[in-house]
Amino acid sequence: MAARNAGGAARPGGPNRTCQFKLVLLGESAVGKSSLVLRFVKGQFHEYQESTIGAAFLTQTVCLDDATIKFEIWDTAGQERYHSLAPMYYRGAQAAIVVYDITNQESFQKAKNWVKELQRQASPNIVMALAGNKADVANKRTVEYEEANAYAEDNALLFMETSAKTSMNVNDIFMAIAKKLPIGPAQGEGPTGTVDMNQPQQQQKGSCCK
């Protein structure tokens, strides 16, 4: 629950630092990427969430004990045909959630491919999470929790089964990512914090602690 923060305001003049991180959602089509974002950002769920064309961009802020984390979330289209666009969206991302549908074995295989691609192509320090979505229909499950969990451990991924519909683990997975992100040095050391290192300079708005 701590993840919801009305409007995402940092306290003006407070001791807290605001860090901005780029997060990308990847995964097979119709596994619930947009629904996870919609639940996390707006607390809503649409049964017939329309497919994403191109990409959508949303922001949400979470408060940790010592910092405020502002997520810049890129929600991408899942279908294979649009795969060639993906690098544009995961380039420079500091975090990624790779989503699969627990009722769809194929989507789990796709998720593994995404993880491989990110390991090869994305920023080396990217924080990756694996989300087994649609946990509310566990009776139709074809991907066992243990199987996915073991895979996640082998690849050092955060792992949770989630449900955008019931909101189970949705905030939690974002919070878990937030906690793993490198939070820059304390104020006063200037704008080139640790977070900033992998970023090209034109991204100044996008990626540093202020």
């Binding site: 009305a6 409007g7 995402g8 305001a9 940092a10 306290r11 003006p12 407070g14 001791p15 807290n16 089509s29 119709a30 809503q44 049964e47 017939y48 969430q49 329309e50 497919s51 064309i53 191109g54 990409a55 959508a56 961009f57 949303l58 922001t59 408060c63 004990d65 010592d66 810049e72 289209a77 899942g78 279908q79 045909r81 649009y82 060639s84 666009l85 544009m88 704008p191 300079q201 034109q202 100044q204 708005k205 996008g206």
Partner: protein
């Protein structure tokens, strides 16, 4: 410890509502006439100052619908529906996240209410709010207590929040007052400077100079000043060297287009008018065909005509075909449809185990049919038979063109066709016709999309160089924020009925084959000030463009696009050859000219 303190403070200090204005109604979408009554407030909280709008809790508060003559009538919707709609558009935002707002007053003498649409720093926009019981004055006055506002120089309806930092910057930079120098020129008029070919330098100034000046806004030392100047000169010289090679562009960016003519939309083509183009045997007078298509282009079609006319516009029926010829062919095509349909229907579960390519396509269709236009009444509800029809049409298309298969976005093209045709066979063959025009969008290499993006960039460069330069300086000149527009022909940007209108205008093929791109240019052109004045970067631009969805006025955009076409065609002799090709010559000529200037060539200077 501090956060403990903070949460204590939070629990002790109650929120203070500074102003609360009732009768502020949210409008759901541009073509919607429904207004949700609600309350707009500014509240001081321990965590900041928030602008909030929430729907009125009074169950009797009237949802109103404005009729065309400006009168209101009640909306008939269930309380649950009302609550859901209201909750969907409710918002609470930190004043510090406000970047600007658009304020529109009703035209003098016309009925209507003043409205405000808030635009956030991240590029998103809130739903437009209509002040039904009061003026916007009180809200704006109160807002000024927290932030500094000024009207945009370029657009009287746009009010921007003045960033304290940039004010300070302007002051401190005025100390770097070398006359005629690029930096001072930049500060006086950043966009003009960018326009005159220094976009590389302006982004250099934004990236390098501004942060370093900001670090010390009170005093810029003499040394610092000299260092900045030297760096700027170097950058400027660097530019000169590079620009020599880019000769052709000078002409392009310097081109002065004639003023945009005023264009009016005409009434939709009526049944009577349509039939006046028909000969007695049911075919269309070939001599009047162009005239008929121009009529469709200028006004669209009456809804009752669509079923008949779309078949022709989409090439399902030939213009020269008589009624009896078409009926004969239609029977034949129906047979073909049922053949192909029975092919996929006959595939058993057992066969599917060894037919993965088919299964893959089928599962994509199923996933997308379930979530296509489900808010449109025609597709609402669990066991809606129209979903079955849509599924059948798309599955049969998979058999018709197995190599292309099903690609996301196709269901968006098929659904309005089914809505109009109400018949699987007719929908299918219209869909085949529509895919003839659009299938390249769905090909694997995405080359056609890239080509259109390049063409769009070239067009923006000519019509609105200021915007083109800004986009380049923000690394957004790949135009990928327009991907959705181009892929599904604005299906996601307009309501269902507006989409129908826009599509039939495009299907008329008038006045040029790439009119779709001119519509993109017209929309971008209308957003120039918002994008530049808010200093949107790549992500904010994408978000802003995405959020225009359902808030665009289809007629205004069509007239603007047509006006731009006239501007361009009046300057035909001065336009570069590739631009003329997009506008005048068909697709084959365009694809052979894919040697349009590549991004690396586009460093330019047009002095």
């Amino acid at each position: 410890m501090d956060s403990d303190l903070d949460s204590m403070v939070r629990s002790i200090v109650p929120d203070k509502t500074v102003v609360s204005i009732t009768g502020v109604a949210a409008k759901l979408g541009e073509d919607s006439r429904e207004y949700i009554p609600g309350i707009l407030s500014i509240t001081e909280k321990s965590i900041g100052v928030f602008i909030e709008w929430r729907p009125s809790e009074d169950p009797d508060a009237s949802w109103v619908m404005t009729t065309d003559d400006g009168n209101s009538e009640m909306v008939d919707r269930s309380p649950v529906e009302k609550r859901n709609c209201g909750a969907r558009v409710a918002f609470s935002m930190d004043v510090n996240d406000l970047s600007s707002f658009r304020i529109e007053e009703p035209k003098r003498g016309a009925s209507g209410f003043p409205s405000i649409r808030l635009i956030c720093r991240d590029g998103s926009s809130q739903v437009p709010l209509f002040f039904r019981d009061s003026t916007t004055g009180e809200f704006i006055d109160r807002l000024q207590g927290y932030i500094t506002l000024r009207r945009s120089h370029r657009d009287a309806t746009l009010v921007v929040v003045v960033d304290q930092k940039s004010e300070a910057l302007a002051k401190s930079v005025s100390m770097l007052d070398e006359n005629g120098d690029i930096l001072s020129r930049f500060m006086q008029n950043p966009y003009m400077t960018a326009m005159t070919g220094f976009s590389k330098i302006t982004s250099f100034v934004q990236d390098q100079v501004i942060p370093s000046v900001l670090n010390d806004t009170d005093a810029v030392t003499q040394e610092e000043k000299i260092r900045l100047m030297r760096e700027l000169r170097l950058a400027e010289e660097h530019m000169r060297v590079h620009s020599d090679a880019a000769g052709e562009f000078e002409v392009v960016t310097q081109l002065d287009l004639p003023p945009r003519p005023e264009i009016y939309r005409e009434l939709p083509v009526s049944k009577e008018l349509w039939h006046s183009f028909k000969l007695s045997n049911g075919s269309y007078d070939p001599l009047k065909l162009h005239h008929l298509k121009m009529n469709v282009f200028r006004g669209g079609l009456n809804a009752e005509l669509r079923k008949e006319a779309w078949k022709l516009l989409l090439g399902y029926r030939q213009w020269h075909e008589t009624d009896s010829e078409f009926e004969k062919r239609r029977t034949e095509l129906a047979k073909q449809y049922h053949n192909m349909k029975s092919q996929w229907m006959a595939i058993t579960e057992d066969q599917e185990k060894r037919f993965s390519k088919f299964v893959k396509r089928k599962s994509l269709v199923e996933k997308d049919v379930a979530r296509t236009d489900r808010t449109v009444p025609f597709f609402q509800g669990e066991d809606n038979v129209n979903l079955v029809h849509l599924h059948n049409v798309l599955m049969t298309y998979v058999m018709y063109n197995f190599d292309l298969g099903y690609v996301q976005g196709m269901s968006d093209f098929a659904s309005p066709l089914l809505f109009v045709m109400k018949d699987e066979v007719d929908t299918f063959w219209c869909f085949v016709g529509l895919m003839e025009m659009t299938h390249k969008n769905f090909e694997k290499d995405q080359a056609f999309i890239k080509l259109q993006m390049n063409q769009l960039r070239d067009l923006v460069m000519i019509v609105n160089p200021k915007l083109a330069n800004y986009l380049e300086s923000e690394k957004s000149d790949d135009m990928y924020f327009c991907f959705r527009w181009v892929l599904v022909w604005f299906k996601r940007e307009f309501s269902f009925l507006d989409t129908c209108k826009l599509w039939e205008v495009l299907w008329s093929g008038q006045p040029c084959p790439r009119f779709l791109l001119l519509i993109c240019v017209a929309i971008l052109d209308s957003q120039t000030n918002i994008i530049i004045d808010n200093q949107f970067g790549l992500t904010e631009i994408l978000k802003h463009i995405n959020d225009l969805s359902l808030h665009l006025k289809v007629d205004e955009i069509l007239t603007a696009a047509e006006a731009i076409f006239h501007q361009l065609s009046a300057s035909q002799d001065k336009l570069p050859a590739h631009i003329c090709q997009y506008l005048n010559i068909g697709e084959s000529a365009v694809s052979s000219s894919s040697s349009s200037p590549s991004k690396t060539d586009s460093q330019r200077e047009d002095l």
